[in-house]
């Protein structure tokens, strides 16, 4: 019985570098190890990863697995599934955890299926009941939570949501590196160039106040309503993904996992329910204000101040009051 943390690195610009969420997963692995009285090891996959592996040797771990292969240089679901599967066979780990990144979302279900298992994706918390692991994940875009239990035999696989565990809780220690060379064949997928779209003209990260709009605004013609609020506050206007998808505001104004991550002095979310993909992009804001007609909307879980009500009535009233307060 042991725990394995599969870390993630990416070579987007320059040499391989950690995906920051991996540290949160490592902290979770150490926590589980303590609770279940099991050893925990960590693995890093790729090519040219010596320095990353040696960084892990300074953590409280049973072992560090450095899984190196030329075919792991560029990520593909086929090669990464093969490599992790072979590492799991070797280590016989009973719990294997991953950060819930776009890359993990791409291969973890494949790996689990190859093992005849189901991975529990996007876990936000856990507890131990009668020595058994209970995982908590979200349903309906964060409106509800659900407890999930594994019913079959290990190995148990799970991916952890960004921000669910704290990287600053990692315990230092020392661990030895063990190199592991998997047998892998070239992928059917041919990964090509990594790129960003045209330069961002709007840097939302520099804004002190952001007014952000979501589906609640209903149609493009209503955008000026929130623009007026942004103007009154001297704020940048931003949006949740669906608004940009619909072309009501340009993509460069999108906040969330696929857009920009912001942490302004004040973030005012108007008509945004607060799906996790949005929350990860703004929950570091100092003051969060939510205006939404649904009192159970997940945005209120992170809000400091809120008004439950119809934005079409609340926002114009707010503009008036802000003007008065600033006068």
């Amino acid at each position: 019985m042991s725990i394995l943390v599969v870390m993630e690195q990416r070579a987007v610009q320059g040499p391989p570098a950690w995906s920051r969420m991996s540290w949160e997963t490592l902290a979770a692995g150490q926590q589980l190890a303590g609770e279940l009285q099991q050893p925990v090891s960590a693995a890093v996959l790729g090519q040219g990863i010596e320095s990353l592996a040696s960084e892990l040797t300074e953590k409280k771990l049973d072992r560090v697995y450095s899984v190196e292969h030329d075919l792991l240089k560029d990520y593909t679901p086929d090669t990464y599934t093969d490599a992790v599967r072979q590492l799991m066979e070797k280590t016989q780990a009973s719990i294997v955890i991953f950060p819930h990144t776009y890359q993990v979302r791409d291969f973890l279900p494949k790996l689990a299926t190859a093992l005849g298992r189901v991975a529990v994706s996007d876990v936000v918390a856990h507890r131990i009941e009668d020595g058994k692991l209970v995982l908590v994940r979200q349903l309906f875009q964060g409106k509800l939570n659900v407890d999930v239990r594994f019913t079959g035999d290990p190995p148990y696989l799970a991916s952890l949501q960004a921000g669910a565990y704290r990287a600053d809780r990692i315990e230092a220690g020392s661990a030895a590196v063990e190199k592991f060379a998997p047998q892998i064949t070239p992928s059917r997928n041919k990964p090509l160039d990594l790129f960003r779209e045209a330069q961002r003209a709007v840097d939302l990260t520099a804004a002190e106040i952001i007014v952000s709009v979501g589906r609640g605004i209903k149609e493009a013609d209503n955008i000026p309503i929130v623009q007026k609020l942004a103007d009154a506050l001297g704020a940048e206007l931003a949006a949740s993904r669906p608004i940009c998808d619909s072309g009501w505001l340009p993509m460069e104004r999108q906040v969330g996992s696929s857009g920009q991550t912001v942490a302004p002095k004040m973030y005012m979310a108007v008509g945004i329910s607060g799906a996790i993909q949005h929350l990860v992009g703004m929950k570091g804001s100092k003051i969060i204000v939510a205006i939404n007609k649904d009192a159970n909307a997940p945005i209120f879980e992170v809000a400091d101040y809120g008004i439950v009500g119809d934005l079409f009535q609340v926002v114009p009233a707010l503009v008036e009051e802000i003007k008065k307060a600033k006068a």
């Binding site: 086929d78 689990a112 409106k143 659900v146 990964p191 993904r241 002095k265 101040y305 809120g306």
Partner: protein
């Protein structure tokens, strides 16, 4: 090109959700339902690919009898025919069992391309497409924002974090999970709605496909409202009053105005 699009019917986005007294799921009797949003984009992508390259779009949906409404809407938008895996208690199927259902129904169709939404708005595992690819032995790519057909292969644009993208080339047949926003959704035309009435919906069952929900790997044991991580100060009353109270707090307590 023969394209199969997997769609799911989910509770409408603005549904007021209440936990059932059993605590095992939500009260679903009075909800209204709609197509899972990313699946709507997958369907649109399938229709656009067919319009460009010819072929057929087949819609595949597992769900209870009420899902027929969502299937008809997909046919009205232009899908050629549909397969409905009629299963009243889909909740008993874990993601692997659910994907086995889809795999059993679509395998014999020998599609060139299988499209799914990247995740469902209800359970949100974000796994069905990838599991399905593995069960069918197909290469896959996820969170796709662009699809270009080439000779015997496709070139896709994968979305990554922080505004990054990657192009990936892969042979056909393949499976893609589609991201919302990849295209612009169409509305069904009156003509489309009329035509849909005569399109084939083939009904199959889980037992007919030889797939059971027995021996799941995971079990959902309790559904509940999440706790709040912060104490939210809520202001109520008429909009003007609530707005005045909020602005006062923002000015004198939070000092951001």
């Amino acid at each position: 090109m023969k394209i199969i699009v997997c769609i799911k019917q989910v509770p409408a986005r603005d549904s007021q959700l209440r936990v059932a007294s059993s605590g095992a799921w939500i009260q679903d009797a009075d909800l209204s339902y709609e197509i899972n949003e990313p699946d709507a984009y997958a369907l649109e992508e399938g229709l656009q690919l067919k319009e460009k390259h010819g072929g057929e779009v087949v819609v595949l949906c597992a769900g209870p009898a009420r899902a027929a409404q969502t299937i008809r809407e997909a046919l009205a938008k232009g899908a050629d025919r549909a397969i409905h895996i009629e299963e009243e208690d889909l909740g008993a199927f874990d993601p692997l069992c659910a994907a086995r259902l889809l795999a059993a129904a679509l395998g014999p169709e020998k599609p060139d391309l299988v499209l799914t939404g990247l995740q469902s708005d209800d359970l949100g595992y974000g796994q069905t497409g990838v599991i399905l690819a593995e069960l069918l032995g197909l290469p896959h790519a996820t969170i796709i924002m662009q699809v270009e057909k080439q000779d015997g292969s496709i070139r896709v644009k994968r979305e990554l974090e922080d505004g990054w993208f990657q192009h990936v080339e892969m042979p056909l047949p393949a499976l893609l999970t589609i991201q919302s926003g990849i295209n612009k959704l169409r509305y069904a035309t009156l003509m489309g709605i009329k035509k849909a009435k005569n399109k084939e919906i083939r009904a199959v069952t889980a037992s007919g496909l030889g797939v059971s929900s027995a021996a799941p790997s995971i079990q959902l044991s309790r559904v509940y409202l999440p706790g709040r991580s912060k104490q939210t100060q809520l202001f109520d009353g008429p909009p003007k009053e609530a707005a005045a109270k909020l602005v006062e707090k923002l000015k004198f307590e939070a000092r951001v105005i």
